[in-house]
Amino acid sequence: MAPPMIDPTLFDELKTKIEEDTSVRKDLDQILDDLNQQVSFTQGVLSRIHSTPRSKYATLLGQIEGGIRKEIETVGKLSAFASQYPYYKYNHKWTRMVQDAVSTVIICAWLGGMSTDSKPGEIGRLLTLEDIGQAFNVPVNLKDRDAFHITIEEYLLGLITVIDDLSRLAVNSVTLGDTSMAVKISGFIKDLHAGFQVLNLKNDILRKRVDSIKYAVKKVEDVVYDLSLRNLIPAQEPQ
């Protein structure tokens, strides 16, 4: 007799694998739910920066760091869980959230938070991808083994979110009378814009987001222009 069309074990094998995959996704969703909540919360606290004068940053940064600590904890859980499976199989599920988490950390550090023993917090400090990895206590840009890490794309996309947010802060800091902040932001964003021009981009999401940086640059330039027109730029920071 000819063999059957479909070996009876074949179905079971396929079914088991699909079910495994589904359960991994479910478990991931649970961790990601937590992360999502924590990132949203931290972003919410962060948005207070737009109505907080610089003299009161310290307390606000403390609250932001509290949110970030929770993020870090959950990313640690995610890392431990996701590292059991092929990284890029499920990466799409969390990449957006990790980008947002990264952006909260970058902006917090830029505003003077996230100080460590070796690197005291100061306004205008940019965390590199490696710094981010240290902050979250996970590897970055892994190539030699298949485990959880933060990718270059995630870092850069997170950084673009920071640029958008800072361009908004430039406007609001002027409203709060802190003109030197606007000038500082202008210099920072211009430098980053120049940095992004160094990249060779493909027609992907990163390209699209990088293209949007110029609007942030323009927004901040307009603010600086308004200030210089009225002689409001502090003298000690020539730009």
Binding site: I6, L10, K15, N91, T128
Partner: protein
Amino acid sequence: MSGFKRDWSGNAKRRDGPKPAPKQVVRNEYTPMFEGLRNELDEHHDRRERIVKASRDITALSKKIIFSLQRVRKIEDQLPANIQSEMDSRLAEISKLLATIAPEIQGINRYRYSRSLMCLEELVEALTFAHYLRTQSLISHTELDPIIEELTRKGAVSEDEVMADASDTAGTTATGKPAPPTAEPPTVSLTQDDYLYGVFDLTGEMMRFATTSTALSGTMAGGQGGEGGDDEPRTIVQDMHELGTLFEMLPVGSGNRFQWEKKLEVTRQSVQKVERLGYDRIIRGSERPKGWVPDLSSGDQGQGDELD
């Protein structure tokens, strides 16, 4: 970059005009960081491009294999010699391509580029179809893995030989086989999705095969039967039913539900087309003029012309 600009009189403009300017103008404290990231990203983009190119070729070759296989008229242990040789030569080309991309898609990179590796689905389709035409059964994922591995290995070996030939003048040892540079060459692995979606597509090919072979031979393709079996030999209609049932019973893969539903719908249609064929053959098989081909609406590929 694509092409170049010309000035008013039609001479090609040199590119060193305004273009490289931004490169030198702005250097600031972040430039080195971005340069580092750029190099990393470039490496990734280049790799993906190489994979996409090879993948496109593998897809085309696999499709050609499938077309050749569609010229088979009945299920038997051996494919007709001319078709087998066509398939072998195309598989040899595929081997080489697989061997070139194999090192690029090891470990973490396997899933990183899985969307650029749609060719594997196509290859699975070709291989499962060939297997069906020979054995009238569905090859499993575990049986298919070694076949793909073997293909990759062959491609790597033939490349080594070419390189060995080229470096013959340098005085290789006369011990025959040059020692392979790496203990075991990397191979291409199939993911569950590659297999499943390849098999989904197999149902379409089986439908086409059933249609043409029934039209041209007047009998429903199936097993040889006869010896020992007390019942009729199994036909492709039953096989299609089995495949259809397999997919209906499997839980929906939660990763890409949309694609799954789409493929499942197409499979259902294929199953029904073959059902209809079986029915037609029973009801009016004798009345049907020889060479009549039923409407293949979505799947017409002109095999009807090959009435040799």
